[in-house]
Symmetry: C2
């Protein structure tokens, strides 16, 4: 399902990140970075929730707004019962739409928010997401203290949080259109190979987006997927070529940008719902403000991994959602 | 945040329910009932997912529509990573907005869907939710086979699933307005007393709804909360009286209607995201079609319970969302 927008702008963005992300190639671009994984809290789950609060506070600070100036908060994360979001919401205190899309959360939130802002149902909306390496590993695989051996196809959950302020107020970057994806499942059962799980769903959503808007792939200066990693990125390109005869030459993957994969201990790259928005809200956003990149399709890719269902020998479904962001001509 | 709608109708509803629900006072009103808790599947999680599929299929059958006639599916459930929804979506195959609001899911979905239908961004939307006693007890408390002793304030998770078809096509019941709630937390830490957790958030959302639309409580023939249970229902009424000086005389609670609390082994009543929609989509919906009740405010109440956070000694936050449904005058 594809939506076209007339009156939605990205008024501001924020990004907060952990120590390993700060050491990565985009490290200088984040609004706040933390020296450790507890960020002053007692547990990793509470640390993740605190980062989400910080990302909203940083966003509001940048635009000089108060919480009561915001109509709606749309947020989700990887933890069971989206506890990072729910506990953060106690201090954020804005009417909440809680969502779950695993690592597709950022684009899912942007779609819901853009639909509401475009038609004037709200004047603005904050869209947020977070992830934390230790809270995610503990929940989905093994507590990191166990020193479990990782496979080279596994990705490294990003520690950080990011927020977007959508608004009907004209600004430099316009939310131009979006495509809501479907759940798909090609039978992958390997919980350590999320790239292979997600690549087909990314391909389907990109194809659906281009087809429904009658666009060539080169309409975009950049197609930025979320967290496929170095292997998933290759699978996506092959899938697009074989299945749809599309050369994805203008593509990059946030999982391959957020870390220095050759030097940092991150295996196939980053992952987690905050991976894509950390890359977009820092480096890409600034490139767009400078006019160096004008049209970007961000495609957040979600592996709907459940330990319960994997233990029941079921394969892992995935879903991807896409949002088109453009430098708005009338302001330049 | 309150929304007013002009062009959203409840075209049809469906409800499927488990054996204990069939034996309850509304048992004859469900579209499908099951003889056991496995509903032909191998596990409870897969059973819950199957019920969700059945509720969507039953809905489409009633309106003689195919899946490809539906623009968007909005769904969520209680299980980690909303697996009932995600695995159901493989066969439902409609673009998905996955949401998490615990037992507030039905109204959260109706709000997102109504906002999209009202402004013509989609022509229709299916909103679904499910719950399953055994899958929920296993995840949130103890597997039922353990024979864990329950306290009298505890509620009994409803087994069933329900779907709503929202449409811009005029029908007998109009979605008139809605109120999106905020997360609140009054410090309750008892995971066996969800009524006490949720009652204040229900009160805040009802009050916010009435205030923002400048309505007296008697505007509604019925205010129907989701799953407070017999004790939570009392707390809500007292809270409304003391805090806002409002007499909630036109109120009932779905948790107290779905079972015969005196005769069935359900402690303080029903709970789970399917509790409210099962009561509404069966008995109340039919009462509205007959014109016996004309204005109903449904208030889905969500306890954002997380075993992780309860183990960390944090209290349990909650959120409630409200949707106003009215018999549309111009069709009578």
């Amino acid at each position: 399902m594809t939506f076209k927008y007339n009156d939605v702008y990205l008024e501001e963005v924020s990004s907060v990140a952990g120590p390993l992300e700060e050491q990565g190639p985009l490290g200088k671009n984040y609004d706040i970075t933390y020296k450790d994984y507890y960020v002053g809290m007692n547990t990793w789950e509470q640390a993740e929730s605190k980062m989400l609060v910080d990302s909203v506070d940083a966003l509001l600070y940048k635009v000089n707004k108060l919480k009561q100036d915001i109509d709606v908060h749309i947020s989700g994360d990887l933890l069971n019962q989206i506890v990072s979001t729910n506990y953060a919401s106690l201090s954020i205190n804005i009417p909440l739409i809680g969502i779950y899309g695993a690592c597709s959360t950022s684009c899912l939130g942007l779609i819901i928010g853009s639909n509401m802002v475009d038609k004037g149902q709200v004047k603005n909306a904050i869209v947020s997401t977070s992830s934390h390496n230790n809270s995610a590993e503990k929940q989905f695989r093994y507590p990191v203290e166990y020193g479990n051996i990782r496979r080279k196809m596994s990705t490294y959950t990003v520690t950080g949080a990011a927020s977007f302020l959508l608004s009907n107020k004209k600004s430099y970057i316009k939310v131009e259109s979006s495509t809501l994806g479907k759940v798909c499942d090609l039978g992958v059962k390997d919980a350590n190979n999320m790239g292979a799980v997600m690549a087909p769903s990314a391909a389907k959503t990109i194809y659906e987006h281009l087809k429904s808007l009658k666009r060539e792939v080169n309409y975009y200066d950049l197609i930025l997927t979320g967290d496929l990693g170095i292997y998933g990125k290759k699978i996506l390109r092959e899938y697009m070529k074989v299945e749809y005869n599309i050369d994805l030459n203008n593509h990059d993957d946030a999982a391959c940008m957020i870390y220095d994969i050759d030097k940092q201990p991150v295996f196939a790259g980053g992952s987690g719902p905050s991976c894509l928005p950390l890359v977009f809200n820092s480096y890409i956003y600034k490139q767009m403000l400078k006019g160096k990149i004008r049209r970007v399709l961000i495609v957040a890719t979600g592996a709907l991994l459940s330990t319960t269902m994997v233990n029941q020998k079921l394969s892992i479904p995935s879903i991807s959602h896409a949002v088109s962001l453009e430098v708005s001509d009338d302001l330049f």
